[in-house]
């Protein structure tokens, strides 16, 4: 009986997911499509929670759905105010459309066969056994945090560098920002109450990431959501520090702390990012704090440069 209920739940979730995904990409109105994409992201977060991936559910709800949805809506608003006259409108090539359909069907069949074959014939224990065997020496008890910040810390270090490179690329395009109208009483009341709660929640997620679902990425995303909320309420700085130097410092502090800890450990004779077991908890917390600040600043800046704006005047690059 219980498995039947679970199967029913799975069928409902998957039907909702596929239906929302199909309709988000097939409606004629782009605004409806983005709203359906946000709903799609919500169902996807539920699926992550069902598949025992609560860390992913938190990150998906905050970044994949919330911030991406806000970014897409801001981009749509800009495109509607300055429509692209240069879009190619020649009639679609029938041959290309049929070829694309054929390639899609073949790709689906190949991938589907690969998945079925992998699940039935090539079961491999994977690295999970090794992770759980070494978990108590990693300094944290949340296995995802242990993998992210201890066993594969090098990958996370490179990922922070990729984020930094992306935001530098965005800022180098010199897109000017047009702020939103100052909010009315309802929205500013909501902002006044929500932003402190979000800051507190971000600190909590950062701290609790060591032993429960949470961590630097989720905390940074919640902080970025607070910044986006401030921006939408009419504060053009979006909560970022006013001084240019401090803003730049926040952007790079994640990569910097990571690199300095890694090199420091090399100076002490160990490998790059090879934490001594007694210090791993504290080192991980230090790195996560710097990473939270960095991720929040980078996500806010990525959102700000996705803002609408006619270039009325060339302002000094504010990054």
């Amino acid at each position: 009986m219980e498995t039947l209920i679970w199967n029913l739940f799975d069928v409902l979730l998957l039907t909702a997911l596929l239906a929302l995904g199909w309709s988000a990409l097939s409606t004629s109105n782009l605004r409806k499509g983005i709203a359906l994409f946000i709903a799609f992201g919500l169902v996807l977060s539920l699926i992550w929670a069902r598949l025992k991936a609560p860390d992913i559910a938190l990150a998906e709800a905050a970044i994949g759905t919330g911030l991406t949805g806000a970014l897409l809506l801001a981009a749509l608003r800009d495109e509607e105010s300055a429509p692209a006259e240069t879009s190619v409108q020649e009639p679609g090539n029938r041959f290309y459309a049929y070829l694309l359909m054929l390639v899609t069907i073949i790709l689906t069949l190949i991938l589907g066969w690969g998945l079925i074959d992998a699940l039935m014939n090539r079961q491999h224990p994977g690295l999970a056994y090794d992770v759980f065997a070494q978990l108590d020496q990693s300094g944290v008890s949340n296995p995802v945090t242990a993998v992210l910040l201890n066993f594969r810390a090098y990958d996370t270090f490179l990922e922070l560098a990729v984020l930094l490179a992306a935001v530098l690329g965005i800022r180098s395009l010199n897109i000017t920002r047009q702020p939103y109208l100052k909010a009315g009483p309802v929205l500013s009341g909501l902002t006044v109450w929500l932003v402190p709660v979000l800051i507190l929640m971000s600190a909590y997620l950062l701290w609790v990431g060591a032993h429960a679902p949470g961590g630097a990425f989720q905390a940074g995303a919640v902080l970025a959501a607070a910044g986006v909320l401030l921006r939408l309420s009419g504060y053009p700085a979006a909560g970022l520090p006013a001084r240019l130097l401090i803003r730049r410092a926040f952007m790079i502090i994640g990569v910097l702390v990571f690199a300095m800890i890694g090199l420091g450990l090399m100076v002490l004779g160990r490998g790059f990012l090879d934490y001594p077991v007694a210090w791993s908890g504290s080192l991980i917390l230090l790195i996560e704090t710097a990473a939270t600040l960095s991720i929040a600043t980078i996500l806010i800046m990525a959102f700000l440069a996705g803002e609408s704006g006619e270039p009325e005047h060339q302002e000094k690059p504010s990054c």
Partner: protein, 97 residues
């Protein structure tokens, strides 16, 4: 016994959600749809959270769930207001001094 109360509360919450969804699909006007959606979903969520609190029995979890409910109340009220305000402005035109 407590489980029965919890199940009853969650079912009541579910019925509120169903009513809100039917209202979303069937009511004619934007404003009446907003009304049905927010009122039904706030109370529906409240009933469900009350039921979950009775099942869990843990103080810390209950406080977190009540915080969730308060946040949903605040944000849904604010967004319903903003949507209705925008629709009103579109009908009447922007405010002229």
């Amino acid at each position: 016994m407590t489980e029965l109360i919890a199940i009853a509360l969650i079912t009541v919450g579910l019925m509120f959600f169903i009513a809100g969804s039917i209202g979303l699909l069937r009511l004619p006007d934007l404003y009446s749809r907003l009304h049905a959606l927010t009122k039904a979903d706030n109370v529906g969520l409240g009933m469900m959270i009350l039921g979950i609190i009775i099942i869990s029995g843990d103080l810390l979890t209950s406080l977190k769930l009540i915080l969730v409910w308060l946040l949903v109340l605040a944000s849904s009220a604010a967004s319903a207001h903003l949507i209705a305000q925008r629709a009103r402005r579109r009908e009447r035109g922007l405010w002229k001094p």
